[in-house]
Symmetry: C2
Subunit: 451 residues, 2 copies
């Protein structure tokens, strides 16, 4: 036992060093934070913050605090859409999907009320999922009240709910807020709308594009929420995209359906699919440009490309906000026999816990890529596969590349944005998907914390 | 700054308390251990240790240290099988499977050399996977040398390799060890064999069964390695089962193929499938009992049931040694339209990172079970699903059960062995699969350490 000041000082210094070492280990073990309270903005968030989005003629927004789950938190968003607005959408294919999803799917096929306009109402805090018959009653109450207050047929009011599941939705709190929301509707309030739909998101997500139509500009602006396709208590991915293009709902739906596979269906955080994922695209026709009528014409192609870029940007932002993510990763598969095989193999790699933990550990573990290709069920021949990390060829012809440099690859893996390319050497089809790494913070968010 | 002994003592005591607190946090964050060096035995390991296995007439074992990757580590196992031994097997369906797997598959269909006996040779430390043409050359060298030394046709020597991938196998180190291994062959050395094939396993795995045949007892003894279907650098699941039954290779293969779906194909640690999984079953015919010839007869049914029990026991031990596992979980799906749908839904639940992290957090998060059913692609109707944790009914008819008790369920979740039952309410088909939780230690093993 130390007996004088000098000995106690040495003991204290030894312990101080131990404290530093343990604190560093703990930070490493928990992804730099302890518990969820900190909820820091994702390190992969866009550096420039929420983008400046163009106003879309014919769309106005309002956000408010209805107290759906917590009081004083902005948790409800209303978007009003001008008469003539065309609506398209895509929804989760989950067999346990929520009542609002079933309701939206039905309403999307009924285009009779288009001339009167439309509305979208979204709440966070409660997903109204797996709530039996009460689920549809809540949807009817919210969309019915909004329709009455806005003078719309109920078939033109689309709702989404996100948050805890299995709890009855206090729909009367939302309907009580409607007069205040309607009074506050504002064409410039899209950022407030993006913030109102956040649950475990660490940043609001927005993207836009503009093209030259015939006789005027056509603008697209979209917002999204989602921390991947996953979150505690099954919070969901929700996306709302608005454009002033004049376009029929049929053509809009065709374009949305065509673009969704390579955008929102090409991202994954952890392979878990929500009960409530929803994408709604609304075209008001307020642009001075001539209607978009021919998908193969110059404007039609430009519009679909712009729509694709907004969808992809929002989809990638969801991955960048993936729970616990520290790396944003593109998995690019080329040389596949067809697009379905390219997608299947890319997704098997993107969803592999072994691949995702290796990326978290900055380990260029290409053997795990080989494993994931092998388990995917997609068409592949072991001895024709080549694998690149960035531009570095690590494996080819069924074995490690002769020129492989461990040091060069290790340096590449330290980046926060990675491209892993697999060439199957079999055909011409290609597909990219986007994912993130699997870190201690993912466990913290989903296991250590009862949400 | 403290200036005398008393102050420094107080400072040291303050720091010592901080060290304790940080060490506790770190232990909690990393699953109780720091890093892989400790490699503690899984908390789910059988309490009684390695079981006493019966000797199987006609099978002898030897284990040795060939220095495949590390010197001084037992890394090679040889099993010699008597003339007349029938061999059956099942192998990974990975499209990137290793050379030894392709070699075993070919040899299994060639039953011409049965009268001369057979041998199994296994090394750990190097998987000889994704090694191009050199992979088959190494398999030929090892099996060819063993065949020559044992006086067997090369078609009767089956090999497996497990460990790092993409590195050439130093097969000359294994063949140099053959004379010593052959000299050491011993009917009682099965535990040494079980230990020789371990890589990241934290305990050796064995199981046995005995039934009454016509005229004598029939014994089955098996060993396995695997820390789930996953491990760093794609170490693999390997299983070797021996019996003294007299049975044709055709009937043995039929029984093995029939039982593998409900045993080894019904476990998962993290959905990642190895390039090298192999199950080999060898029947020596050394039993005094009459041959097993009728799968539907009394002995045939008893033998197949005993084989099933050994396979299931070994499969469950692999899950119990799953990387980072602290909970052993049965997912039991009933009321399915058919077995394929029951299996698909059970596996979607068992592989869901959200379900597995909730279990790690002792959170009875039944909403995530609903989510996993929904995403599985299996046939399910939301409003007919009921879910139980143990005997506790938590959800029914599309909503939380009216009698649900949070406290009772929370107490159940603290157990280390859990049964989660889902009744789909659609048909009569049922399936169980086994999985473990997803913890910080899984990330430690696979991300924080370069293996």
């Amino acid at each position: 036992m130390p007996s004088d000041a000098k000995d106690w000082k040495a003991e204290a210094e030894r312990l101080a060093a131990q404290v530093s070492a343990l604190a560093a280990d703990l930070a490493a073990a928990t992804g730099g934070t302890k518990g969820k309270k900190a909820n820091p903005v994702s390190p992969l968030a866009p550096k420039e913050g929420f983008p400046a989005l163009p106003r879309i003629g014919g769309v106005s927004f309002a956000a408010g605090a209805a107290g759906v789950r917590y009081s004083g938190r902005t948790d409800v968003m209303l978007a009003r859409l001008a008469p003539g607005t065309a609506i398209a959408g895509a929804f989760t294919r989950s067999s346990t999907r929520a009542a609002c999803i079933l309701d939206c799917e039905t309403k999307l096929t009924d285009r009779s009320g288009r001339s009167s306009g439309a509305a979208i109402i979204v709440n966070s805090g409660n997903a109204n999922a797996f709530t039996g018959a009460a689920g549809q009653e809540a949807v009817d109450a919210v969309t019915g009240s909004a329709a009455a207050a806005l003078g719309l047929p109920v078939s033109r009011v689309f709702s989404s709910s996100t948050g805890v599941i299995g709890e009855p939705l206090r729909h009367e709190r939302i309907t009580a807020k409607l007069p205040e929301l309607i009074a506050a509707l504002d064409e410039g309030a899209i950022e407030a709308a993006a913030r109102a739909i956040m649950t475990t998101d660490t940043f609001p997500k927005g993207a836009s594009a503009e093209i030259a139509g015939e006789g005027g500009a056509i603008r697209i602006a979209g917002i999204a929420k989602g921390s991947g396709m996953i979150a505690p208590d099954m919070a969901t991915m929700l996306v709302y995209i608005f454009t002033d293009a004049a376009i029929s709902p049929e053509l809009l739906q065709t374009m949305v359906a065509r673009q969704v596979d390579a955008t929102f269906n090409a991202i994954t955080v952890d392979s878990d699919t929500s009960t409530s994922d929803a994408l709604v695209v609304a075209a008001t026709g307020a642009s001075a440009a001539a209607p978009v009528e021919d998908a193969q014409g110059q404007v039609g192609r430009a519009f679909e490309a712009a729509l694709h870029s907004v969808m992809l940007d929002l989809a990638q932002q969801v991955v960048r906000d993936g729970e616990g993510a520290t790396k944003f990763v593109e998995i690019r598969v080329t040389g596949a026999t067809d697009a379905a095989n390219a997608h299947r193999i890319a997704m098997a790699i993107a969803n592999s816990p072994l691949v995702k933990t290796a990326i978290a550990g900055e380990d260029a573990n290409w053997g795990r890529i080989v494993m994931a290709i092998g388990k995917s069920g997609g068409v592949a021949e072991r001895d024709r596969i080549s694998i690149r990390f960035g531009d570095i060829l690590v494996a080819e012809k069924g074995w490690r590349s002769p020129g492989y440099s461990e040091e060069e690859t290790a340096a590449y893996m330290k980046r926060d944005t990675l491209v892993i390319s697999v060439d199957l050497g079999l055909g011409e089809a290609a597909r990219s998907v986007w994912t993130c790494d699997l870190t201690h913070r993912y466990i913290d968010i989903n296991a250590d914390y009862r949400s």
